[in-house]
Structure formats: structure tokens, C-alpha cells
């Protein structure tokens, strides 16, 4: 219980400082504050996707429905954070580039990520038998994850992008932010990760209770 209170307190402090400190990127201005939220959301989106794939592999190895539940919950949370990252990204694009959407490579890749999640849930909805659903959606999840490196590393290099790539890590792999700004940014990253783990645990517990309830109804 105590760590949830700690999370609440620190999250509040982080949100306060994300607005109280001077804007992180002077040339972009006040709108660059969004990076305290946008990047952690995109980060969680990728983490959740990777976790979903990890549990999908575990399911195929062990054939234990617990892993399928976990893969599904990670995908659900990933979808929510993916929507958040897309929306905050579009808001930032409107302010700095003048358009909400212009098929920048980054926007394209996050859009495909959204489509993959959408297709994953559509596929799950179309299969009735639980074991079958678990195995087939696990295979799809792994198969779709294989295309992600193409999206993130190869296509943005073939097409020019407007996305500020070097605002945090420059081409020499050194951090471009420092001092209080970097402290707020990295605590935001850590706090969002803890928040995600918390949500994930709640999801797993809910799923467990649902399974217990189904078993009791069967008796």
C-alpha cells in the first residue's frame, strides 16, 4: 500500500515541476513541455508490446493460460498508452508543424503499432475456444513484433523525418538534457513505468478473479 502513496506523491511533484521549470527546449518553446509525457507514454507502449510478445512466447512454451492472460493485459495497456502517445504527438505536431497529421515516419510507425494492437484484439474476438485463441493470438503477436524493427530503424532512415530525434539522445549516444530538466524527465519515465506495472498487476488479479468466478459457476 505504501508504495502507491509514494507513487502518488512523486507523480504530483513531477507534474508540478514539469510546468514550473523553464521549457526544456528553448527553440521550440512552451510546447516542448509535452516531452515529459509523450516520451514516457511511447516508452510504455513499446515496453508493453515487448512484454506481450514475451508472454506470448511463454504461452507457446508452457501452454498455460495464465501467460495468455498476461499477454492480453499487456497488449490492452499498451494500446491505451499508444493512443495517448499518438494524441500527444499529434498535438505537438499541430503546434510546431502546423498539422495534426502528416504521415511523418514516426507517425506512420506509431499508427501501424495501433493497427497491430487493433488487429490483435479483432483476431481474439473472432476465436471462441480459449486454448485456440491463446495460441493463435500468441503467434500473431510474435509475428507482428518482428516487423517493428523494420518500422523503427529502417523506414525512418529511408524517408526524411521532422520528428525531433536528437532532443534527448544525440547521434553520439550522449544525453542532451541536463540538470533539473533531466531529473524531471527521468523521474517521469520511472514513475510512468511504475504506474504501468501497477496497472498490469491489477489487470492480472482481475483476470484471475474472473477465472475463479467462471470455475465456481461451472460447479
Amino acid at each position: 500500500m505504501w508504495w502507491k502513496l509514494v507513487l502518488f506523491v512523486f507523480m504530483s511533484i513531477m507534474i508540478y515541476f514539469s510546468f514550473a521549470l523553464p521549457a526544456p527546449q528553448q527553440q521550440i518553446g512552451e510546447s516542448s513541455r509535452i516531452f515529459y509525457y509523450h516520451i514516457p507514454q511511447a516508452w510504455i507502449c513499446v515496453i508493453a508490446f515487448a512484454m506481450s510478445m514475451f508472454y506470448s512466447i511463454r504461452y507457446l512454451q508452457k501452454k498455460d493460460l495464465k501467460y495468455d492472460d498476461m499477454a492480453m493485459i499487456a497488449a490492452k495497456l499498451g494500446f491505451i498508452f499508444c493512443v495517448l502517445a499518438t494524441v500527444t504527438g499529434a498535438m505537438f505536431a499541430k503546434v510546431t508543424w502546423g498539422m495534426y497529421w502528416n504521415w511523418d515516419p514516426r507517425q506512420t510507425s506509431i499508427f501501424i503499432l495501433l493497427l497491430i494492437y487493433g488487429a490483435y484484439f479483432a483476431l481474439r474476438g473472432a476465436i471462441d475456444i480459449e486454448e485456440k485463441r491463446a495460441a493463435l493470438s500468441a503467434v500473431y503477436s510474435i509475428f507482428a513484433f518482428v516487423t517493428v524493427p523494420f518500422l523503427i530503424f529502417i523506414v525512418p532512415r529511408m524517408v526524411p523525418t521532422l520528428h525531433p530525434n536528437d532532443s534527448i539522445i544525440n547521434s553520439d549516444l550522449k544525453f542532451n538534457i541536463e540538470g533539473a530538466i533531466s531529473l524531471v524527465f527521468f523521474s517521469s519515465l520511472a514513475l510512468f513505468t511504475v504506474l504501468y506495472i501497477w496497472l498490469f498487476n491489477i489487470g492480472v488479479r482481475v483476470q484471475l478473479l474472473l477465472r475463479k468466478q467462471m470455475e465456481l459457476e461451472d460447479l
Partner: protein
Amino acid sequence: MPKTSSGLLSRSLAVYFKDLRMELRTKNALNAILMFGVTTLTVVSFSLGQSGLSPKLLSALFWIIMFFSAMSGLAQTFIREEETGTSLILNLTAEPNSIYIGKLLFNLTLLITMTSIITPMFFIFTDAPTENILPFVVILTLGVFGLVSATTLVAAIISKASVKGALFAVVSFPILMVLLMVLVGATEKILDNNSLSSVSSEIQFLIAYVVVMTTISLLLFKFVWRE
């Protein structure tokens, strides 16, 4: 089809020839895929007029026709096994790897047949420039391989689901979107009279895509097929 007497290739070919023979008897998949291609091509040519289309538009239209035609027929071979109830027997007589390779070859044959009819028609109907035809064929061949390598596993997944038709396009699209983006870009350059060397990075991408997708499909296919 004796299981132990021969190598992987001949066993895969046995599956392939079985599918080919079944297809030649009914011509279900070929008719569907071909008529879909012709229909979309007609609509395009009809509504946009015959000449003066920009390379950008031509390449986008060409790959839209290819994508939707592929979606209309490539799942047939697996759906047929499920509908006639023969998947269990196939499971007993052949192991997953040779089934996958056989089906992959069959889908490849199907799409190549369709493409070799649709592509000349596309050039005739839209009056697309033909000076650069050889590089175009290179990109087209890689594109066909890419489409088939990525959709054969998805087709196997879909054949086990309860709603089959619409789901195939929905589930394949996110996986194919990277491929289609690169293909449309490369075809545009080729139709704009650029040489093959101007699209060398696209060609590298396409080869990598085909290799990765085929390998991962081979690894995952047994989990789908055993369901």
C-alpha cells in the same frame, strides 16, 4: 505421401502438387483473385481516364490493386482444408514444415499467375510508361514474394477463426504496411524513369523482409497448424 522415404523438398512438393491439382479441378481461388484484380483495375481505369496519370498515382493504384486481389484469394488454400475437414488428415500424413512450404509455393504460384495477367492489363489500361519495364519486373517480383511470405502464416491463423473473410485483410494489413510503403516508393521511382541502382536500398529492404518473414513463419507455423 509416405513420411520417411524422402527429403523435405519432395515432401513439400507433394503438398504443393496436391493443392495445385485441387485448384485446377475447381479454380476457386484463381477465379476469385483474378476477377477481383480485373474488377478493381476496371474501376480505376474507368474513373481516372487513360493517360496522364503521375508515377506517384500509378504506383499507389497498382499496389492497391495487388493488395486487395491478394487478400481475396491467398487464404483460400487453408480455408479449403478447414471447410472440407481435410486438415486433420494432412496433419497425419505430413509434418508442419513441408505443409508450410507447400502452401507457400502454392500461394506464390497463384499470385504470380494473377500478376502476369493483371500487370500487362494495367499498363494497357492506364498507359503507364513502359521504357523501364525490366526494373519494374524486379520490384514486382520482390513485392509478390513479400506479399506471399507475410500472408501465408496469417492465412493459416485466419482459417482457424470463426469469421474468415473480412478478418484476413484486417489482420494482414499492419504486417504488410511497411512492405507496401517501400514498394509504392520504389515503383514510383522506377515509373519516373530512374535506374535500378536508385532503388538499391529498397531492394535490400525487400530481400531482408522476405527472408525474415519466411524464417519466422517456418518457426511459428507448427503452433498454428497443431491447433
